[in-house]
């Protein structure tokens, strides 16, 4: 297979399939990763990343992830990264003598990465780490003279820039040196020196610039997996595969069996299909609901629920919010599985996912302080200590509605350093300290009217009363009454229902109660 066009076709297919996979099947994956970071174009932000091993890979990955804000851009970025990895694997394999007939094998690591990314905590930083390690190794194979001296600089550089990727780099270059060396004994000695240098790099890092990081971070990277102190075995397997794939390609090249091309092509296709099945439906359904809610695609929420069903309190919260926003909550909630009061406002469960939709529901209901509280806790629950543009926006809005302009300004300033939230933040800044302008704003003005003037404690045990009080306080907020009455129904509390139902006279349109017996 020495035809340039066929190889290009394989790579292009990989890129195209990857892009369509994320854009059409899993745009929520893109949105999910984008919403748990806040990439800022500031010197401090660069510095904060670069003082950590693997910081450059992390910085570049975050730079890429910000484009996930738009699904087509996100899909394209991911496609390019995966194709770049595939090409690097191929080019390194070629450098050690792999035959062009085995080009499909170079797709395997990229496809395995697609599968791995089905774990929502697997970070694009890992993808960038692998790519940079491969690129460095590829660069190393191009060095003709004084390679051993270059390696003395490149090993610490690989650690500094890619962290965990140093092991991949070291493995690739060791294999390359062994296979291409004229003097095997001398090369073995050099390899020993290289491994000693890598160990020294780790020891020095442990007691200097990585002093305050755990040994797990030092050895396995700071942000290759979102949860600290955890790294799945598949991540190590991929790293190992990347190291050994060029060698494997070289070895199978010796077989000179052309039929292997067919087997490898089929294997790549099967693996590609398998990779797409590694996105657990139960989890990605929730992310999809959250994605629709985030983008206020209420019809999409309802249609998806009709198609796929509702089996979870968080999904139920999304559906009820969508119905509420369309003024159909009491009329149509009976059409869907309900999860009690939890299905109206799912409780915070000390993780970064559980109440993203609850936070949105609180925001739209006019429970602006609760929305802020949830957004704060969601932001603090992000396992890798990163901030979130999405949550920061809501926090800034909360302070703005509350008239805490200096506090709002802090968050708006941060957002103004980002790429896709900057114009929103700069526009929001023009509202600060301008009461009339805020009151005239279609959303913020409305939220101000919704808000209680007197102290009113948020209590889960008395949620129905709170919501109905919210409506009483501002009858414009009919969704609060819908939620309050829905709450009584879901709690089978007919006494409260009878108590609050007369308030519906103040509502613009009467209820139909479809599906509720």
């Amino acid at each position: 297979m020495n035809h340039w066009g066929v190889k290009t076709l394989f790579s292009a297919l990989l890129g195209l399939a990857a892009m369509l996979f994320w854009v059409i099947l899993h745009p929520e994956w893109l949105s999910f990763h984008e919403q748990y970071q806040m990439f800022m174009f500031t010197g401090d932000y660069v510095a904060e990343r670069l003082v950590v091993a693997g910081g450059l890979a992390d910085y570049l990955a975050e730079f890429c992830v910000q484009f996930f804000f738009y699904k087509w851009a996100g899909g394209l970025v991911m496609a390019l990264l995966l194709v770049a990895i595939q090409l690097c694997v191929w080019l390194i394999a070629r450098r050690i003598g792999a035959n062009e007939n085995h080009y499909p094998l170079s797709l395997i690591p990229s496809l395995l990465i697609v599968a791995y990314l089905g774990d929502h905590n697997a970070m694009p930083t890992f993808v960038m780490t692998i790519l940079m390690a491969l690129a460095l190794a590829l660069g190393y194979t191009r060095i003709v003279r004084y390679r051993c001296y270059c390696q003395i600089a490149l090993i610490p550089l690989a650690y500094w820039t890619t962290g965990y990727g140093m092991f991949v780099y070291l493995g690739l270059t060791a294999i390359y040196d062994m296979l291409t060396a004229d003097d095997k004994r001398r090369t073995s000695l050099f390899l020993l020196v290289y491994f000693a240098l890598a160990a020294l790099t780790l020891v020095v890092s442990t007691y200097t610039f990585m002093l305050r990081y755990t040994m797990h971070d030092i050895l396995l990277g700071v942000n290759t997996y979102r949860q600290r102190l955890v790294t799945p075995g598949l991540q190590h397997a991929i790293a190992a595969l990347v190291v050994f794939m060029p060698l494997a390609m070289m070895l199978v090249s010796r077989l000179r069996a052309r039929w292997l091309l067919v087997v490898e092509s089929v294997a790549a296709v099967v693996m590609g299909y398998w990779a797409t099945t590694q996105y657990p439906k139960r989890i990605y359904d929730l992310f999809k609901y959250d994605y629709f809610v985030r983008n206020e695609r209420w019809n999409a929420v309802i249609n998806y629920a009709r198609r796929e069903g509702v089996n979870d309190a968080m999904a139920c919260t999304a559906v009820n919010l969508a119905l509420g926003m369309k003024g159909q909550l009491l009329d149509n909630m009976g059409e869907f599985n309900q999860c009690g009061q939890q299905g109206l406002l799912t409780r915070f469960d000390r993780n970064m996912v559980s109440c993203t939709i609850t936070a949105e529901a609180c925001y739209h209901l006019g429970l602006i302080n609760s929305a802020m509280r949830y957004n704060y806790d969601l932001q603090e629950s992000v396992d890798n200590r990163r901030k979130s543009c999405r949550f920061s926006m809501r926090i800034a809005e909360g302070y703005l509605v509350n008239g805490r302009y200096d506090a709002s300004m802090k968050y708006l300033k941060r957002l103004s350093h980002t790429l896709f939230y900057s114009s929103w933040a700069k526009d929001a800044m023009t509202y600060l300290y301008d009461e009339a302008k805020i009151n005239a704003h279609p959303v913020w003005g409305k939220l101000r009217r919704y808000q209680f003037e007197e102290d009113e404690l948020y209590s889960v045990s008395d949620l129905d009363r709170l919501l109905c009080r919210l409506f009483e306080h501002c009858p414009e907020n009919s969704m609060a009454l819908d939620y309050g009455l829905a709450c009584t129904l879901l709690n089978n509390d007919l006494k409260h229902f009878e108590e609050f139902y007369p308030l519906s006279k103040l509502r613009k349109s009467p209820y139909n109660f479809n599906g509720i017996e």
Partner: protein
């Protein structure tokens, strides 16, 4: 060559000074400079970090500082950024005197000169190394971006003692030293790797402080002057949220007790007086170690009756020889009788004063705008607000310097939301000077951009020495010493 290296910085400074834009065609404005932060009329210790400041809307500033006794200093640039060594020299030369500031600023291309103002340089030294405090990103149930830091008060150097990079995902709090001396210190780690770390003269141990006989882990600590005991409260802390725009959160205890830990034997000393059905919290030893001050309130239904929880200030004897808690409670201030609430008693180390938070209600005055700092003369019982330190917003989490002449506390006065640290001077009569914001290199950028809040500040006599790598190993080992109850 060596000579050249030595004089190079001087030459560079001269060159920069020559390049700095001097005010010309200056108009005089009859107002105080619109500066951030407000340092007009504050009292500072000699040798403190420079009181750099920004001037609103200024493209350039030019500041001349003259000492009432001797010396002068200029700063120019986008903000008033004083040279640290020159500033130290000037403040030391003018101990007991004043520094006068002439501020000119270039606004919209025109230079304006504002009214001069002065600050006092106290005779009372502040020789402590600096401050320790927690910096925490706002959150209510989860804290991923949290750390305990130390700051050299004489410069702008700040470094973590321990933070969430080392122990991710866990709350850490209450780093407290014995009368500011970090040779005896303690701090808590919460969550999966829960422990109370006690370090005495470099020897460290991790304690498990929850027992079957007590309601919770040890919480708010205070060292006995002997270093043999730490008084703790045990608090079942909860919080509820308010949906109005005036008052966001209320923190309350569902139960609370107080006790003493004997750090020599790792035993808890209990007393029925400090473990009643009511709330007891914030214990603090008197300067001579013979009393335990604490706050107590009747128990109310929470959160519905949070606004009724009002703490009185009480004390009970303590015998350091036998480790016995006394048998009689003295009520020092019956704040609840006048509809008020006292928390966070902090006796000065010279035994003269007792500083406390004074609010309408709540165990956590931080969230109450009306919360102020008050001081009581322990000899006469006279009480008064610390006017120089107080503002229209909440003040709380206060502590004394080792010589009991300076206090540090947190206040929300800047934006109504985020706690910042202020320092104030307390003279021999208990009068408090106007508080000044903890200096930063570029205060506006630092404070306005930082979303993290400060809390639990304290002075530290020397730099805190914690072997972080060893500490992390011990934390992750899971090995803890279980405290026992003293019979």
């Amino acid at each position: 060559m060596t000579k050249l290296i030595k004089i190079l910085p001087v030459l560079l400074s001269l060159l920069l000074a020559a390049c700095a834009e001097r005010p010309s065609d200056v108009c005089v404005v009859d107002t105080m400079p619109p500066m951030y932060p407000d340092y007009v009329g504050v009292t500072i210790p000699a040798g403190i970090a420079p009181l750099n400041f920004n001037v609103d809307k200024a493209e350039k500033v030019w500041v001349e500082v003259k000492g009432s006794k001797d010396g002068s200093l200029t700063a120019s640039g986008e903000w008033a950024d004083f040279d640290i060594d020159d500033w130290h020299d000037l403040t030391l030369m003018n101990k007991g005197g004043q520094l006068s500031f002439d501020v000119s600023a270039k606004v919209d291309g025109k230079w304006c000169r504002y009214n001069s103002f002065t600050i006092d340089v106290s005779d009372d030294p502040l020789d402590d190394y600096g401050l320790t405090f927690r910096k925490i990103a706002p959150g209510y149930e989860v804290f991923s971006d949290i750390g305990i830091f130390q700051r050299d008060i004489h410069s702008f150097d700040e470094e973590p003692i321990v933070d969430s990079r080392s122990i991710p995902g866990e709350c850490m709090n209450c780093h407290v030293a014995n009368r500011t001396d970090p040779r005896q210190m303690q701090l808590h780690i919460r969550g999966l790797y829960s422990a109370t770390m006690v370090q005495i003269d470099g020897e460290r141990r991790l304690l498990q402080t929850a027992t079957d006989s007590t309601i919770a882990n040890c919480m708010y600590p205070y060292w006995h002057p002997s270093g043999n005991y730490v008084a703790y409260s045990l608090n079942l802390i909860h919080q509820c949220f308010n949906e109005s725009n005036s008052h966001f959160i209320e923190v309350f205890d569902k139960a609370s007790d107080a006790l003493v830990l004997d750090v020599r034997s790792n035993q808890l000393i209990l007393s029925p007086l400090l473990q009643t059905d009511d709330f007891e919290t914030y214990p603090a030893f008197s300067a001579d170690g013979t009393k335990i001050y604490y706050c107590t309130s009747k128990k109310y239904k929470v959160p519905e009756e949070c606004d009724k929880i009002q703490y009185d200030l009480c004390c009970v004897d303590f015998d350091a020889e036998s480790g016995q808690i006394g048998t009689k409670v003295d009520t020092l201030i019956k704040a609840s009788a006048i509809g008020k609430c006292i928390t966070h008693p902090r006796p000065s180390y010279d035994g003269k004063w007792l500083m406390y938070s004074y609010a309408d209600c709540s165990v956590f005055p931080l969230n109450h705008k009306e919360a102020d700092l008050w001081i009581m003369n322990l000899a006469t019982g006279e009480k008064r607000p610390m006017d120089g330190a107080n503002s229209d917003d909440a003040e709380s989490f206060h502590n004394w310097s080792s010589n009991s002449r300076w206090i540090v506390f947190s206040s929300r006065r800047l934006d109504g939301v985020t706690n910042r640290l202020f320092i104030s001077h307390v003279d021999e009569n208990g009068n408090t000077s106007k508080a000044f914001l903890l200096p930063q290199r570029n205060p506006r950028v630092y404070y306005e951009d930082m979303t993290r809040a400060y809390n639990t500040p304290d002075f530290t006599l020397t730099k805190v020495d914690l072997d972080i790598r060893a500490f992390m190993n011990e934390i992750y080992s899971g090995e803890r010493i279980q405290v026992t109850i003293k019979k």
